[in-house]
């Protein structure tokens, strides 16, 4: 680095120091607390609390919810980014704004709207009850609320990636006679695979960790309609703080794992782009 672009070492290192201190305080300490409290009563208790019946049920529900919500939002993400990145049409920016809406809606509101829709006093409530279809306060409502909350995540990652790719390759393929699906599968997909992966893991992390929205639509039925974040709250309220943080540590691991994958993806993506000689977005 030339001298024109750097500050004196003193300034540099004090800035680094301040930045790191802030990060330790705000990011590292909470992480530390989760693990230290989880292990307060020893490793044996840690594993014992993770194998509690209700906690395992919560883990299962969390996994199932993510397994449903993420693929659905993935398909949507691909469809939306295809139409937004490859075409120019009226109302495109409005569509973009609408897609981003769930991100800025408070989680409590995200749950509330489904109570208004499916609750017994809500729009479809009486009809559902008459046909004995249960949605609200069941895992179904949890899945729906999770889909809403993680709705934009894949799309947001894919759109800039697809935009950066441009359409020349696809247009060329079409001109050469390939069908739409073949073009997508063999031309588009390989180019966006890192953005796709990134979107999936972000969506998954949020889907597994959602609390507010799920709390409103869950019935908090132990062992049945509690996801892992809700189970953490229950354990906390049952005075079992160690177990609550033990369960929390699972989600913290998931968060760390997400970060690792994300870093790997960025690394590979950047390497790939450099290899092909394209500009990063």
């Amino acid at each position: 680095m030339s001298n024109a672009r750097t500050e004196p070492a003193v300034v540099r290192w004090s800035l680094i120091g301040i930045a790191l201190a802030y990060l330790v305080l705000f990011i590292f300490m909470p992480l530390f607390i989760v693990f230290s409290t989880a292990l307060e009563k020893g490793i044996a208790y840690y594993f014992h609390s993770l194998t509690d019946v209700d906690t395992i049920a919560a883990i299962k529900l969390t996994l199932i919810t993510a397994l449903i919500a993420v693929p659905l939002n993935l398909v949507f993400g691909v469809a939306a980014s295809w139409v937004i990145a490859k075409f120019d049409f009226r109302g495109k920016s409005l569509l973009l704004t609408l897609i981003d809406v769930p991100l800025s809606v408070s989680p409590v509101i995200s749950g509330l709207i489904f109570v208004l829709l499916f609750g017994l006093q809500g729009l479809f409530g009486p009809w559902l009850r008459a046909h004995d279809i249960k949605i609200i306060f069941t895992p179904i409502a949890i899945v729906i609320a999770t889909i809403f909350v993680t709705f934009p995540m894949v799309a947001r990652e894919l759109i800039p990636v697809m935009k950066a790719q441009g359409s020349e390759e696809e247009e060329a393929a079409i001109t050469l006679g390939a069908s739409g699906w073949k073009t997508f599968w063999y031309v588009t997909l390989p180019n966006i695979k890192w953005g796709l992966l990134y979107g999936i893991i972000l969506c998954n992390a949020r889907a597994m960790g959602e609390f507010g929205a799920v709390s409103v639509v869950s019935g908090h039925i132990r062992g049945l309609t509690n996801t892992l974040p809700l189970q953490i709250e229950i354990l906390y309220n049952d005075y079992d703080f160690t177990a609550a943080f033990a369960a929390a540590s699972l989600l913290a691991f998931l968060a760390l794992f997400t970060l690792v994958i994300k870093t790997l993806v960025e690394y590979r993506y950047r390497a790939e782009l450099e290899a092909v000689g394209k500009k990063t977005h």
Binding site: A79, V83, D88, R90, L116, I147, G180, G209, E210, P229
Partner: protein, 277 residues
């Protein structure tokens, strides 16, 4: 309806647009419209009295105020962190870079109980602060601290790429013309990154005004004093006041929309400016 503005030979326009609109409507638009539907059952006078009740206003003040302060403080530190990450080399930099996103990936409830444990008066950080007479949990300060945790990645990740893309030649040219580092910063770097700072701020702000899981454990939940707006909505629900709850939610939603529009506009403005360079 011919919506397309340009001719293209790419297929799937109608299919993908149709599916996108359908999914969007089913998952997002129709459920959100319930807020309007439910609120419309109130007269405007009722709506107004709920939304401007002292308790509601106090909740808005807390949620919006704390979000604003937290995002504002994060602008400084977030910028600093982005600067340090994109400009300097130091041991552990890659690890630090990866950890920035931790608040984003961590579930809000986990963040909530961890932050409360940390900042309560018998917590590691809380006890230190208590010694100098500062209470950091169950008050507005606790809320601000929690939101600072939540909002940090938004700001860092918005400023960082812009910093990285800055053309070094501009700085080198200015330096060769005799400008000192501070002046270079003030006149060249800062204006270039200002749009991203605004964008980052409004993203963090939008995200944190509605924050619930990470805040509800550390706020005091005292009506009129330390009750965040989302909690007020839930409380109204549990008092069987559905219309009250939706009225308050509607106002928050409209504010979120506004912020969203602002962010998108800021991003559009940013890309125009970059394009001009």
């Amino acid at each position: 309806m011919i919506l397309l503005k340009q001719k293209t030979n790419l297929p799937g326009f109608h299919l993908s647009l149709g599916y996108t609109m359908l999914y969007l409507s089913l998952v997002v638009l129709i459920p959100l419209s319930m807020l309007f539907v439910k609120t419309s059952t109130m007269s405007f006078a009722e709506f107004w009295s709920v939304v401007t009740a002292p308790r509601t206003l106090a909740a808005y003040r807390l949620s919006f105020g704390a979000a604003f302060i937290a995002s504002f403080i994060n602008v400084f530190f977030g910028f600093l962190i982005a600067w340090v990450l994109s400009r300097y080399r130091f041991p552990g930099k890659k690890l630090v870079d990866a950890l920035i996103d931790f608040p984003f990936a961590l579930p809000t409830a986990v963040a909530g109980i961890a932050l409360t444990t940390l900042y309560a008066s018998n917590g590691i950080l809380g006890s230190v602060l208590a010694k100098i007479g500062i209470q950091s949990a169950y008050n507005a300060l606790g809320v601000v601290l929690a939101l600072m945790f939540i909002g940090l990645p938004f700001i860092v990740r918005t400023i960082e790429p812009v910093l990285q893309e800055l053309d070094p030649e501009l700085e080198e040219a200015a330096s060769s013309l005799g400008a000192g580092r501070w002046e270079i910063f003030r006149r060249i770097i800062f204006p270039a990154i200002l749009p991203s700072i605004v964008t980052g701020f409004s993203l963090a702000f939008a995200r944190t005004i509605g924050e619930y899981g990470s805040v509800v454990f550390i706020a005091g939940n005292m009506p009129g004093k330390t009750e965040i707006a989302p909690l007020l909505i839930i409380t109204k629900l549990e008092e069987f006041d559905y219309s009250g709850a939706t009225a308050i939610a509607l106002v928050m939603l409209l504010v979120s929309f506004l912020l969203l529009a602002l962010t998108n506009w800021a991003q559009w403005w940013t890309s125009k400016k970059v394009g001009m360079n």
